[in-house]
């Protein structure tokens, strides 16, 4: 059941065409050529009669009628004299289908049915597309709202946390007076938990920046052994407290990469912090930095003698919110650190991987493109794609 618009100058032929359509259960409206465009919005399909002597001007109409702008689709059938040249001319002018005159009602209805089915399919696709677009707009609004919420939340949480951490630190430093060891212990706990909370807030904000595309790299030449030494220094007191050996192993030669110093330090700090967290006293955490010049890559390897990860934990280690913590450690955080590391490394055109044996320890390996890896070395540089970041950095 469709609305058929019949366009022509001869009332008798238009009548016959109309009757044939009505026999198929369709609604019909007949109009003169000059009224065709005005009637088009209500039509599901148009029949244009080109058989009369005035077929020429009508053919000009075809292109306009057949080119209804997307997403609306109104099929046009041209009724022509039964000659190949006429049919071809009509199709070239923009008709979707042709039928020769004199026509058979059954054939006309069959052609109508075929085109109406095409229209139905097209309309379905368009409806789906529109609902997807609207769902997508909704999701994008939600995504923006989420990012905004996290940014705002992070700010609102940081401010009171600053007062908590700093006053705890000031009291621990003895500003208001000397503390007993029990008081000191209580305040150390306050401060440690404050820092833990700050780390989680930072991770959430990092994640939201990565998702919103707000995460940018400030690229410069970075010498990895120097960066590793700086980073390790900040962990020396913690390693000492835990009774762990923390060592840097690197050769004499520089290992230059092009990267964002702050982000790469974040990756290193995260790996070292994890290694320390899962290694008990008497153990060892080693950070190795080296260049593999034939392949044009730099390696950072963080190895520990901790409890290690089983196969499932290794596979899922870089998943968001996954916590490779069999004992349900209460201080394990949000499970975002390694996924953020992986993203940062990927944006440097590198990759990160883990190898581990339960009970023996783990090794996290970061591979980054070496700066010296010029065009020549690139060819046999292995499976890694060129850095995802253009030379000038991201906007």
């Amino acid at each position: 059941m469709a609305a058929i618009l019949i366009v022509g100058t001869d009332p008798e032929r238009a009548g016959k065409l109309g009757s044939a359509c009505e026999a198929g259960g369709h609604r019909v409206r007949r109009v003169a050529p000059e009224a065709a465009h005005a009637a088009l919005p209500e039509a599901d399909l148009v029949l244009v009669d080109l058989t009369g002597p005035d077929g020429g001007p009508l053919a000009d109409l075809l292109g306009g009628l057949g080119a209804t702008p997307y997403p609306r689709f109104v099929p046009v059938i041209a009724v022509t004299r039964d000659r190949v040249a006429d049919r071809v001319a009509a199709l070239e002018a923009g008709a979707h289908e042709c039928i020769g005159h004199p026509f058979h009602g059954a054939e006309l209805r069959a052609r109508l049915a075929g085109l109406l089915e095409v229209k139905r399919l097209q309309d379905t696709v368009v409806a789906h597309e529109q609902s997807l677009q609207s769902a997508n707009r909704h999701l994008m609004r939600l995504g923006l709202a989420k990012d905004e919420f996290i940014a705002k939340l992070s700010h609102e949480l940081r401010t009171p946390l600053t007062a908590i951490c700093e006053f705890a630190a000031l009291v621990l430093e003895g500003v208001p007076g000397q503390l007993t060891s029990a008081q000191r212990e209580c305040l150390e706990t306050v401060r440690a938990n404050g820092h833990h909370l700050a780390g989680m807030i930072e991770d959430l904000l990092n994640l939201s920046r990565l998702d919103s595309g707000e995460f940018t790299l400030e690229l410069e030449a970075v010498d990895l052994p120097g960066l590793a030494a700086e980073t390790l220094q900040t962990f020396a007191p913690q390693a000492q407290r835990q009774g762990l050996r923390l060592a840097l192993v690197s050769g004499e030669e520089p290992v230059p990469v092009r990267g964002d110093r702050r982000r790469l330090r974040q990756v290193l700090a995260n790996l070292v912090s994890n290694a320390l967290k899962f290694t008990s006293g008497g153990g060892e955490v080693t950070v190795g930095v080296r260049a593999e010049r034939p392949r044009g890559v730099a390696w950072i390897e963080v190895t520990d003698t901790g409890r290690g990860l089983d196969a499932v934990q290794q596979r899922r280690a870089f998943d968001r919110f996954y916590q490779a913590d069999p004992e349900g450690h209460s201080k394990s955080g949000l499970g975002l650190g390694l996924s953020i590391c992986a993203e940062i490394v990927a944006r440097h055109g590198g990759r990160i991987d883990v190898a581990s044996e339960p009970g023996r320890g783990s090794r996290f390996a970061v591979e980054l493109p070496l700066v010296e890896a010029a065009a020549g070395a690139r060819a046999d540089a292995g499976p890694w794609p060129a850095p995802a970041v253009p030379e000038g950095g991201l906007a």
Partner: protein, 154 residues
């Protein structure tokens, strides 16, 4: 950051003070607890501290209080940190005071904007007190001489 730190110092007379006089740090933050913590922290490190609770007050104290360095929050009523920094730079008497941001909004965009406006440092909240004092000292040593100024002004 600046390669010329220490060399272009003497030509700027207002920044010179007797060695014993404590340098004044102007702190602008709308959170009273943070201001209180900063007063203790900076006071303990030997600085005199002036506190402003909004952007307008920060500008007034920057002009009248003779601070050697300014610590600015970004989100503040009556003129956010960036606006305050721009106004400071526009006036000759405050143009060379080193400015540090101390903010709970450490997004990249804010870091970049602070650097573009010539901030001497950018510290995220929650901050490490010892590190903050070190950053303030470093800014004071640089004496507000912008990078390259010693070359441009003989």
């Amino acid at each position: 950051m600046s390669g010329g730190a220490g060399t272009g110092r003497c030509w700027w007379p207002f920044a010179r003070r007797a060695p014993e006089a404590p340098a004044t740090v102007l702190v602008a933050d709308d959170d009273a607890d943070i201001v209180a913590a900063l007063k203790v922290r900076l006071g303990k490190a030997g600085f005199a501290v002036l506190a402003a609770r909004d952007g307008a007050e920060a500008l007034r104290l920057a002009r009248d209080g003779g601070p050697g360095v300014i610590l600015l929050d970004i989100k503040m009523p009556a003129g956010d940190g960036f606006t305050v920094l721009e106004r400071l730079r526009a006036e000759p008497e405050t143009a060379r005071i080193p400015v540090l941001f101390l903010t709970a909004n450490p997004q990249d965009a804010n870091r970049e904007r602070a650097a573009a406006l010539g901030a001497a440092g950018f510290v995220a909240k929650p901050y490490d007190g010892v590190e903050l004092v070190a950053v303030v000292r470093k800014a004071l040593e640089a004496d507000g001489t912008p990078p390259g100024a010693d070359k441009e002004d003989p």
